[in-house]
C-alpha cells in the first residue's frame, strides 16, 4: 500500500532531484532544444514544494491534482502542460483515496502516461518523455499482474526507463523543439525522457525507504 505520506515524500524528493539535476537537464536541452528544460522544471517543482504544506491534509487525488496545476502555472515550457496533465490525470484516478494498492498505483502511472500522450499528441519512438515512460509502465504492469511486489516491479521499470533514455540517442526527434534539427538530433539523449527517468528513480528510492 502507498499512502498519502509516501506521495508527499515522493513529490518533495522529486523536487530536490530536479533541482540537483537542473544544470544537466538544461545542458541536454541546449544540445537539441531551447535550453530551458532544467530551469523550467526546477522553477515548477520549487513552487510545488512551497505549495506542498497546503496539500498535506488532502487525499492522494487532490495532492496529485494540486501538483499538476502548480506545474502548469509555473513551468513555462512544454514540460509544464505535459507533466501538469500527467499529474492531474493520475490525480483523477486516485480521487478521494488515502491509500493505493500496487494495482492502483500502476493504474495511476498509466493515466499519467496517457495524459502526456493526449496533451503532446505523441507516441513512443518520437524522442520524448514517452520513450522512458511507456516501457516503464509496461514492465511493472506485467510484473504486478504476474505476482511481483511493487518495489521489484518498479526496479524493473526504472531499468526499462534507463534503456528508454539510451534508446532516445539512437532516434531522430519527430516531436517537440528537437524535431526542427531532424537528423542532427541523433546521438543526443532526450531531456524530457531523462527528467521522466529521474521521477521514476526518485519514486522507487522513496518507496524503498518507506
Amino acid at each position: 500500500m502507498i499512502n498519502t505520506k509516501n506521495f508527499l515524500e515522493i513529490i518533495s524528493a522529486i523536487a530536490k532531484k530536479i533541482e540537483a539535476e537542473k544544470d544537466f537537464l538544461t545542458e541536454l536541452d541546449n544540445e537539441i532544444g531551447d535550453g530551458d528544460h532544467g530551469i523550467n522544471l526546477a522553477r515548477g517543482f520549487k513552487s510545488v514544494e512551497e505549495k506542498l504544506p497546503t496539500l498535506a491534509d488532502k487525499d492522494i487525488g487532490a495532492i496529485l491534482k494540486g501538483v499538476g496545476m502548480q506545474l502548469v502555472s509555473t513551468v513555462g515550457g512544454a514540460s509544464g502542460p505535459l507533466y501538469g496533465t500527467a499529474f492531474m490525470k493520475a490525480g483523477n484516478v486516485c480521487k478521494g483515496k488515502t491509500e493505493l494498492t500496487d494495482e492502483e498505483f500502476v493504474a495511476a502511472l498509466d493515466a499519467a502516461i496517457n495524459g502526456i500522450k493526449m496533451r503532446g499528441k505523441a507516441v513512443e519512438g518520437e524522442k520524448t518523455m514517452l520513450d522512458a515512460l511507456c516501457p516503464a509502465y509496461k514492465v511493472p504492469k506485467d510484473g504486478i499482474d504476474g505476482g511481483k511486489n511493487l518495489i521489484d516491479a518498479l526496479t524493473d521499470a526504472v531499468d526499462a526507463a534507463v534503456d528508454g533514455v539510451e534508446y532516445t540517442k539512437t532516434i531522430i526527434a519527430t516531436k517537440g523543439r528537437a524535431s526542427y534539427l531532424k537528423e542532427r538530433s541523433l546521438g543526443h539523449q532526450d531531456p524530457g525522457a531523462t527528467s521522466s527517468l529521474y521521477m521514476l528513480q526518485t519514486t522507487l528510492e522513496v518507496l524503498r525507504e518507506a
Binding site: 502548469v72 513555462g76 509544464g80 503532446g120 523543439r177
Partner: protein, 128 residues
C-alpha cells in the same frame, strides 16, 4: 467584435504581432499573452487567461499561438474555461493575426474569421 489573443514564448513577439495587426485595424480588440510573469521566455497559463478575459465578449475570442508549450498551455486554458466561443486557430502567426484583426474590425463572426484564417495557411508571400 471578436477578440484576438496572441500567445507566444516571447513578450516582445506577442506584443509585436499585436502591434502589426493594429496597424490595419486599430479598433480590433487584441491582447498579447507573451512570456512569463517576470518577462522571461516561456508561456504562462495565467497570462493567457488574463488576455482572454481582457478581450472577451459574447462575440467570442480567437487565439493564435507560436509553438509547443504555447499551443499546449492554451489548450489547457480552453479546457478549463469550457466556452465554445473561444477558439484556437492553427495558422501562421503574423498573417493570421493581421487577417483576424481586419475581419474582426469589419464585424465578421467567429466562424467567418476562423475560415479566413485557415486560408492564411496557404497564403504565399512571394508570388509564383
Amino acid at each position: 467584435m471578436v477578440g484576438i489573443v496572441i500567445v507566444s514564448h516571447s513578450q516582445k513577439l506577442a506584443e509585436g504581432v499585436a502591434e502589426i495587426s493594429k496597424m490595419m485595424a486599430a479598433n480590433a480588440p487584441i491582447a498579447a499573452a507573451g512570456g512569463l510573469e517576470d518577462g522571461e521566455l516561456g508561456t504562462s497559463y495565467e497570462k493567457i487567461c488574463a488576455a482572454v478575459e481582457e478581450v472577451y465578449s459574447a462575440d467570442g475570442v480567437i487565439i493564435l499561438m507560436d509553438m509547443g508549450s504555447a499551443v499546449m498551455t492554451t489548450e489547457m486554458v480552453l479546457e478549463d474555461l469550457d466556452k465554445p466561443n473561444v477558439k484556437m486557430i492553427d495558422c501562421p502567426l503574423v498573417e493570421g493575426a493581421v487577417l483576424a484583426a481586419v475581419e474582426s474590425a469589419g464585424g465578421r463572426s467567429l466562424e467567418e474569421i476562423s475560415e479566413r484564417m485557415e486560408e492564411s495557411r496557404t497564403m504565399k508571400k512571394i508570388a509564383d
